[in-house]
Assembly symmetry: C2
Homo-oligomer: 205 residues x 2
DNA sequence: TTATTGAATATTGTTAACAATTTAACGTGT
DNA sequence: ACACGTTAAATTGTTAACAATATTCAATAA
């Protein structure tokens, strides 16, 4: 039996959602841009049905906002106060995740995975592919969140990250971003949870 | 022009979503129950299209969970730790909402609305219509959240409330629930924010 | 008996035509 | 020129048939 790395199978809708997420993160689709179902259907070579599903999915994630009979648009930037609230809530979730690793420590496999993600992060920086940087950044956190609380926690957490990405267009420098994540990982390796918590808090802003 | 109370116009899908929410809250649809699209379509006299939309909507709210090619089920009860986390997060949001009323105080109209909601709450208790009790309870909080942060904040907050309702089947007594909300309202009337915050914290559990 | 294979069934995913609604454009009257 | 109502176009909502995928269950072999 072939036990090599399982290539991820993505449903058609997942792929389209992924592409649209990229477009939004990259700024290609600016906030308040209205989406046209037919247009999207033609672009992806599908009918409007699945497109509608994807639009609802991305609404669930906070990236789009859709009103009755009026279509969907890219969600707008949050006002600063709500932004701060969301950062605070996200911090709560991620701190919870880190602390829960006390009873559910990372395995060697986990560390290998996270290491690999950080390599991808560095590589994306080197290519100056900032959309990929963002996605990889998110996937690092996603890994930890999932480890700590499974799908349930991911579902609670995900909308915050996504919605926050709409607010921050500016990208940090390579060294800062990669180093911050390496710091988190190292603290976890050392089993130094309180240090990891500090590092996570510093990273979420 | 007739300026009397505007009767809310609900889209077909909103009405179906509402009904399903009731079914889930009432326990008529127990956690992990699988939903059948055809069945629902027949029940509501629609085709499967809009039903699918509603299912996605309720997934967004955390009431349902749907997997690829495998349909949707009523979401399961959260494990106690995640439950506590969610309560904590919801408290954060509601405290934020209350505190933001300092700069954006409730009007006479607001108080009238909230009063009316509490009357409905008492009435639902008297009728022992506990599904309606839950919905009215939620709508009280919803009013404050919306006042404080608009649609954006409601969208952040709503999934927590809904998901939490799946965990608590037991209903509190009439006097306890109504009194708690009256306490919140009275503190707000007095302009005593810190007291209102205390009352909200005590109410969310 | 237990596991496994395969066909039959049921369910979800997709499509394209049709209906209802919203948006835009136009013309009329003031 | 401006406001208003009507019509035409564009867009979203809905439907029903079809395709792809999962599930069920019976038959077979170990």
């Amino acid at each position: 039996m072939a036990t090599s790395k399982p290539t991820k199978i993505l449903s058609v809708k997942d792929q389209i959602a992924d592409q649209l997420r990229s477009d939004i993160i990259s700024g290609d689709l600016a906030p308040n841009t209205k989406l046209n179902e037919q247009e999207l259907a033609k672009r992806f070579g599908l009918s409007r049905g699945p497109i509608r599903d994807v639009i609802l999915q991305l609404s669930k994630e906070g990236l789009l906002i859709s009103k009755n009979n009026c279509g969907a648009s890219v969600n707008s930037v949050l006002e600063p106060k709500l932004q701060k609230l969301m950062i605070n809530l996200r911090r709560n979730i991620e701190v919870y995740a880190i602390e829960s690793l006390k009873n559910n420590p990372l395995t060697a496999e986990d560390f290998a995975q996270l290491e690999s993600i950080l390599n991808d992060l560095q590589s994306a920086f080197d290519r100056e592919d900032f959309t990929e940087v963002t996605k990889t950044d998110i996937s690092f956190h996603n890994y930890l969140i999932h480890k700590a609380g499974g799908e349930d926690l991911v579902n609670i957490w995900y909308p915050y990250v996504m919605r926050m990405r709409l607010n921050y267009k500016r990208i940090t420098t390579s060294s800062e971003c990669v180093d911050e994540h390496k710091g988190i990982l190292q603290a976890l390796r050392d089993g130094d949870i309180s240090s990891a918590v500090k590092a996570i808090k510093a990273n979420i802003k």
